[in-house]
């Protein structure tokens, strides 16, 4: 891809259009298909919309004077799943929250270093933080659908909240719900409150909500830690499907989960990156003894 650096600087435009000038050439669904169904079939987000890579350079994050992330250099490759593992309090979540600049929402928190989305430094003073967050979606630990909104409105909320909610949102909502593997379960009750779904469904609703704004990267901060094993399995299957269209960074406490879903795994300890590599290698033949101790359960 060519440089799309300046594009995020124009907040009014859709990041999708900005980041993908070649979208006009994206395959158009055959007319026969569009006549049969209102919305496109199950191919939700085709590989024609790839994710973007993220690179951290000397990233340091602070809460007041306490340094939680102490200079991390790390690459998240496009359209791969990268898991971040490490004991509680090692700075995994803080690091991930720096990527879409959510870290700075906490009073007294700040970050140093560079976070490159493709080749754009998201901390550049000319970059609009709102545009960064549209390009880099986030799914949180606890499912948190907006309680005043229906299932439909929850998915549409990202579009509406960023002033792109004009026109018919139904196709976009359906695409996002299909992308999150929730369409079959909720298509008949889109107007019911989102809070009425089960925990696993709520989390997939939150994934659909972030998919609806067409992000290039999705950050998942322990997305399954509040879910039962069956709901967890569904999310994991979904992650495997989603990486065709977005880059995924997943923080997890569950090492089996990292082993199941991640292409690459990074191990963090007290604010520093200890090791990163292909998931199989990290779990079977880590090069750092601390990684080995952690993945074999000697501490953490």
């Amino acid at each position: 891809m060519t440089s799309h650096g300046p594009s995020l600087r124009t907040a009014e435009m859709e990041p999708d259009e900005l980041l993908q000038p070649d979208r006009a050439q994206a395959p158009v669904p055959p007319p026969a298909a569009s006549r049969r169904a209102v919305a496109p079939a199950i191919t939700p987000l085709v590989p024609a919309k790839p994710g973007l890579s993220v690179r951290l350079e000397k990233l340091r994050a602070f809460y007041g004077s306490s340094e939680q992330v102490k200079g991390v250099d790390l690459d998240f490759r496009a359209n791969e799943v990268t898991a971040i593992i490490g004991p509680s309090g090692c700075g995994k979540s803080t690091m991930v929250r720096c990527i879409n600049r959510m870290h700075e929402e906490i009073p007294g928190a700040r970050a140093e270093g560079r976070v490159l989305l493709d080749d754009l430094d998201v901390y550049d003073s000319a970059v609009d933080v709102v545009a960064v967050r549209r390009a880099i979606g986030m799914v949180f630990q606890k499912p948190n659908p907006f309680p005043t909104m229906s299932i439909f409105d929850n998915v549409a909320s990202g579009l509406r909240l960023s002033s792109r909610g004009r026109g018919d949102l139904r196709p976009k909502v359906e695409t996002a719900l299909r992308g999150a593997g929730l369409w079959e379960e909720v298509s008949g009750r889109l107007q019911e409150p989102g809070a009425g779904l089960s925990g696993g469904q709520q989390q997939r609703l939150c994934i659909a909500r972030s998919l609806a704004v067409n992000p290039k990267v999705i950050l998942m901060d322990e997305p399954c830690s509040a879910l039962d094993p069956i709901a967890t399995l569904k999310i994991e299957e979904l992650i495997a499907e989603l990486k065709k269209s977005v880059t995924i960074v997943i923080v997890t406490h569950n090492m089996q989960q990292a082993a199941r879903v991640a292409d690459r795994t990074a191990f963090m300890l007290s604010g520093q990156l200890v090791e990163v590599g292909p998931t199989g290698e990290i779990f079977t033949a880590p090069s750092d003894p601390r990684t080995e101790e952690y993945v074999t359960g000697k501490f953490g």
Binding site: V130, N144, G158, S162
Partner: protein, 298 residues
């Protein structure tokens, strides 16, 4: 941990000793007694209001203005129409002033000011304002808008005094409710790429709405029952007025002036007016509770 002992000994540990039973009975009795003592005045107030107030209720009681006659037995003393309408008008204007400002202050405190020194200062002054006796608000408006401008009493000046009284109540209740809105909701909206003002208007305020309505209605109920801020701001009058720039009657002031009358019928009108005021506030509280029941937060 396992200390050896007979089966009977092990079971005996689950028996409550007579001393503990006695203590329990005394404590329960004391709490019950305190509840009953607290209920006595409440029940008596409602009882007297009903006994004394219902007697003066009639259709003409609600549909006629007070005549001003308090001495001549053969002519009518009139009803309380101007007082009911005056209270509604004055309190409506007071709410229109205090509610938007109060909610704006609460939103600022919760979403922007947070723990800053200025926010702490605002909170401190709001707390001080909560403790100010209501008559002081009346005096303040009297000095500034009546003595200060050399003008006369007016309904809107009463509204201003009441809005000052309502403001801290609205701010504090709205702040508490806004703090109840989970931070995770704000975060997920921000993470979707929503500007902060949209997060506040589309997520935070709708989520907090039912709880805030309850707080606002309680503030309105409190303001509707206040006499002191109205005495030297809106004054007392007989005629119904729909002009907030004129003298305006109100239920608390009507009660205040009627109850000191030597004429029994006029004192009874005070009871009728008091019952009317209580019923109006009760209805408002009922609405508040119905809305609170629908709330997902409160």
């Amino acid at each position: 941990m396992s200390t050896p002992g007979s089966e009977a000994e092990r079971l005996a540990r689950f028996n409550v000793s007579p001393a503990r039973r006695r203590k329990d009975a005394i404590a329960r009795g004391a709490i019950l007694a305190a509840t009953v003592v607290a209920l006595i005045p409440l029940v008596l107030i409602v009882y007297y209001l009903l006994i004394k107030g219902l007697g003066s209720w009639s259709v003409s009681f609600f549909t006629t203005d007070p005549t001003g006659n308090t001495f001549f037995k053969n002519s009518s003393i009139g009803g309380i129409k101007s007082a009911i309408l005056g209270t509604i008008e004055i309190v409506a204007l007071a709410s229109a002033i205090a509610v938007p400002i109060g909610i704006a202050v609460a939103v600022w405190l919760v979403e922007y000011g947070k723990g800053s020194w200025f926010a702490q200062l605002v909170r401190f002054f709001v707390d001080v304002l909560t403790g100010v006796p209501s008559i002081v608000f009346g005096l303040f408006i009297y000095i500034v808008l009546i003595v200060g401008t050399g003008s006369t009493f007016a309904g809107y000046k009463g509204s201003l005094a009441l809005s000052l009284l309502m403001l801290p109540v609205v701010i504090r209740s709205a702040e508490v409710i806004l703090l109840l809105v989970p931070g995770a909701l704000r975060e997920s909206a921000l993470a979707l790429g929503a500007p902060r003002w949209r997060v506040i208007f589309s997520i935070v305020l709708p989520t907090a709405l039912p709880g805030m309505v309850t707080g606002v209605l309680l503030a309105i109920a409190r303001a509707a029952g206040e006499t002191a801020p109205l005495l030297f701001t809106a004054a007392a009058t007989n005629a119904t007025s729909f002009n907030l720039g004129q003298f305006m009657n109100s239920l608390p002031v009507q009660i205040y002036s009627d109850v000191t009358s030597p004429t029994t019928a006029v004192v009874n009108r005070a009871w009728g007016a008091a019952l009317t005021l209580v019923v109006m506030i009760l209805l408002l509280n009922l609405i508040a509770r119905l809305i609170a029941r629908r709330s997902r937060l409160a």
